[in-house]
Symmetry: C2
Subunit: 383 residues, 2 copies
């Protein structure tokens, strides 16, 4: 009797999945990767060259980081792929066991490298390190990320500058879309033998500069190709605030809700809160780590601490410049309500002193605090 | 009956202490300070400006550091005494709860400051930071160290350069001895109300350049004044190896064995092993931390690992320059037998990569390893 009942419920389950596939308008809350789950929205600390500046993987984990970002362009040049082959991947190299997303390097090719030449086949440029000529194709970029051991692979795209003529934006987008198609094809070919549980994810990147119709075209074409997640690229490249908001909002409306939406290289704390409201899920930004190294400290405004989610203004935080002389005798922690290691142990006067005497511990303690600020903020947005 | 017996044993104890005082030729094994015991010999990591470069107090404790050294001259100028008054001492400022020895600043006054003028009263010089004129006396240096909250206070001395004429050395020593006497007097006056358990220790400093008779005179005079410990200053200032060995050996012979003997700013690993054999107990040296920041890594020679104590040669260790290209693909840890955090987690290839890409984590991981090397070595010498 029990067996019969089990069979019936099992059949019903199959049928239910056939007729009611996962709904597209149900917002994704957890991103599953082969190296563990990531709660959304997520903020990814940046380990450009295989290390988050000043911090160990244990410190990152204690801060609540669930995923980090590294950079294909930089890792490919230094240490180089032979090192990843010998050491068996980036995770083992830097001893981070959680998921890693690798940027495709598209942004760096266009912003850092000189003498670059784009053809339909790929992009040729000379290395900033030794001047050697490098030729990257969409296929090669997939291969590099597979060799690095990335858990979330980004396709190669062209990131147009701002401002950008309509004509250039159109031409650039056409190329990016062709590359996206080739990327998906190559990725499928290369991962055909992977078991589902050990397969990395592949994300497409929406481009189209500040032109809404091009962005729409880009998003729709990528959805047609089909990716595990979708990134909004080419924002925060110098365009006015309204322009970037408009584009992020538009993309988030078009892209499927049951897939992660990742806004690349974004943003200030208030910008992240706003983008999450539009539907964005993933972020990476140099702000917390870079500003920490310059002594710029992020402080949560206490009155707004519990109401972040409902905020319409950007007044829920402020920054302080710890190198200012007024902190020389300040016995208070950076933020009296903060639970980070730095605030639980040290005074503003001490951090001020470390920066003033160029003690490297200062940058480390400030980085811990600022990353805690960002990761605490994102945790509030998950609720 | 029991009470009578207790009285008898108590009386016997008193008598024993009267007739058999602590023997001067019994070597001291533990230095008691108001902030805990320090096993001897001890190596003190250097926190010149109130931080061991790159490391937190927790990391220092995990490495086995029992005492650290900080610098009166630097702390007096930055952050300044008003900060220590506000934050209630260096321990609270930097969150190190163990003992701290503070260098008197004598060495820095003579090596760093310009326009200095020595009189019997004290030394006048201009601050390297703002050019302001500062006047330090033996008494003021004691007051500063008391304000900082130091557990082991060093007297102000003049550290003569090398080479140094007999005449200059004699004159300088006379001044240093007069200052030592005044220091002791002032220290006693200032700490008269301290309970024994909360009283810091005061160390005298033997000077006399490379002249054995002057060193002997210096040591004997200091013993007469009476200090809690004795330092050998003015070694490793450029003199040949034989000269410094001769002086350390001589001082260790004259100074009382039941008091700690501290060789200031000393030395290479093999030099420390040798000095311990002569009877030295305490050391501080920039080598492990400074060389770590330049990628110079200390490795224990495995065959000699267990025989350090009996060594006559300096072959029990070697160094490797991790920035060398041959470590680019080296999957081994810095030292395969080392138990430090760095060696338990990372490859030479990773540390090499961090140095090559100027990632600050590289200096931190190398510092952890080198300090572990020194503190492991000193632990072997304690057995």
């Amino acid at each position: 009797m029990e067996i019969v009942w089990k069979l019936i419920t099992w059949k019903l389950k199959i049928k239910k999945n056939m007729f009611f596939p996962k709904q597209k308008n149900v917002k994704l809350k957890i991103l599953k990767t082969r190296r563990g789950n990531v709660r959304l929205p997520a903020f990814m600390p940046i380990a450009t060259r295989g290390a988050v500046k000043n911090l160990t993987p244990e410190e990152l984990k204690n801060l609540g980081a669930e995923i980090i970002l590294s950079n294909t362009y930089h890792l490919f040049q230094k240490p180089g792929l032979d090192v990843f082959k010998k050491i068996k991947g980036l995770h083992n190299f830097m001893k981070w066991s959680g998921p890693i997303l690798t940027d495709s390097g598209g942004y760096q090719v266009f912003s850092l490298s000189h003498k670059r030449k784009i053809t339909e086949k790929g992009v040729k440029f000379s290395s900033e390190i030794d001047g050697k000529e490098i030729f990257l194709t969409p296929e090669k970029v997939i291969d590099i990320q597979l060799a690095i051991g990335s858990d979330i692979i980004m396709v190669l795209d062209e990131c147009p500058p701002y401002p950008c003529s309509r004509k250039y934006a159109e031409k650039s987008l056409d190329l990016t879309l062709k590359w996206a198609e080739r990327s998906k094809k190559h990725f499928n070919l290369k991962t055909i033998h992977y078991k589902l549980k050990t397969k990395p994810l592949l994300f497409g990147i929406v481009q189209g500069s500040t032109y809404p119709d091009l962005r729409k075209k880009s998003a729709e074409k990528l959805i047609k190709i089909g990716f595990d997640g979708y990134a909004v690229g080419g924002v925060s490249v110098g365009e006015p605030r309204e322009e970037k908001i408009k584009i992020i909002k538009l993309c988030a409306q078009i892209l499927p809700k049951n897939k992660p939406i990742y806004v690349m290289g974004y943003g200030r704390p208030d910008e992240i809160v706003e983008a999450v409201k539009f539907g964005a899920d993933m972020f990476d930004c140099v702000i917390p780590t870079r500003e920490a190294r310059h002594g710029r400290i992020y402080i949560l405004n206490e009155k707004r601490r519990l109401k972040i989610k409902n905020l319409n203004s950007k007044n829920f935080y402020k920054t302080l410049q710890i190198t200012n002389n007024k902190y020389r005798l300040d016995a208070k922690p950076l933020d009296k309500n903060c639970q980070c290691y730095t605030c639980q142990n040290y005074s503003r006067a001490y951090i001020h002193h470390l920066f003033k005497t160029k003690e490297p511990l200062g940058q480390r303690l400030a980085t811990i605090h600022n990353l805690h600020f960002y990761l605490y903020l994102i945790k509030q947005l998950q609720k």
